[in-house]
């Protein structure tokens, strides 16, 4: 269920980061570094967006042995549509059509 409220600045930054390469799965810490969002902002946002069906999460095997599996995230079709809408509302056009 998507929200009808206008996305916050932090959500727009997250949408921008995830929509840059929509098919790619991204780890939380990498997203933090890219967007500049702190963990206290990013995780509640990811939880909410996942609850709303805007982001999907998946467990990925760790790159290094002995490490726990990591959660990876990417936008759903609904999330990508919202990202396009948001960017459209800001008068930008940087999206490629990518099937998800």
């Amino acid at each position: 269920m998507a929200t009808n409220r206008r996305p916050s600045k932090q959500m727009i930054r997250l949408l921008d980061a995830l929509s840059a390469s929509p098919r790619e799965w991204r780890h939380g810490y990498d997203i933090m570094k890219e967007t500049g969002l702190l963990s206290g902002t990013l995780y509640p946002l990811l939880m909410r967006m996942t609850d709303q069906g805007l982001v999907e999460a998946e467990w990925r095997e760790p790159a290094q042995p002995g490490r726990p599996p990591r959660h990876a995230y990417r936008l759903t079709a609904q999330g990508l549509a919202l990202a396009r809408e948001t960017v459209g509302g800001r008068g930008l056009s940087g999206f490629k059509e990518v099937p998800v």
Partner: protein, 214 residues
């Protein structure tokens, strides 16, 4: 030191997320390992804790956890009042200015509450009051552990101790006003623990076995 503190904060954040957000707790923990490698574990852990606390009031189980912590913290001042009252000789401790040791040694001033003929009751009554205080002190701990069997047992023990105090006070013709505080403490404790027990029963009625909520 920083790493240990960060681990403790991270564990607290994971606990705050509870069963409902277990996946997210594990996800945060996995990223915490990366944050350690990156040299920023504390900032990451505090951020996760902030995020977890922010998420808690949005869900019924989170609200329950926050309320039970508030109740547990709210019960502590009542215990503190009883301790302060006991330190001041309340209600059957005839320590006077000589203190407990003076009273045990048979010297010192005596409380006007106890007359020479009923002063022999003082030691068992004092032990009963200290036991009651210990019982009130344990109650918040059991409530936070959601150990309702122990909460029930302790509630019965505290009730029995308070009723015993009431009976002794009546039999010894002492001032009943001194029992207002222990009785109020017991009433508040029983009401709060019963409400939390019922709330949890309603909240986790359909929880699968093996979860901490069940």
């Amino acid at each position: 030191m920083t790493a240990k503190l960060a681990c403790a904060v991270m564990a607290l954040a994971q606990a705050c997320l509870g069963d409902r957000r277990r996946d997210w707790a594990l996800a945060m923990h996995a990223e915490f390992e990366v944050a350690i490698d990156d040299g920023r574990p504390l900032a990451f852990a505090f951020g996760c804790l902030r995020g977890a606390l922010h998420d808690m009031p949005k869900h019924a189980d989170g609200r329950f956890t926050l309320t039970s912590h508030a109740v547990a913290l709210g019960l502590l001042p009542i215990v503190a009042l009883l301790v302060v009252g006991t330190g001041a000789g309340f209600p059957f401790l005839p320590s006077g200015h000589a203190g407990i040791s003076g009273w045990l040694a048979g010297s010192g001033e005596h409380s006007p509450l106890l007359t020479p003929w009923n002063r022999g009751f003082a030691p068992p009554l004092a032990i009963l009051i200290w036991g009651l205080i210990a019982g009130h002190l344990l109650m918040p701990w059991f409530i936070l552990e959601r150990d309702w069997a122990r909460v029930g047992t302790l509630a019965r023990i505290n009730s029995a101790a308070t009723v015993t105090l009431l009976l002794f006070t009546t039999v010894l013709f002492l001032d009943m006003a001194f029992l207002l505080l222990p009785m109020a403490a017991l009433a508040i404790e029983l009401a709060a623990s019963w409400c939390l027990f019922r709330w949890q029963a309603d909240l986790f009625a359909g929880a699968p076995p093996g979860t901490s909520a069940a």
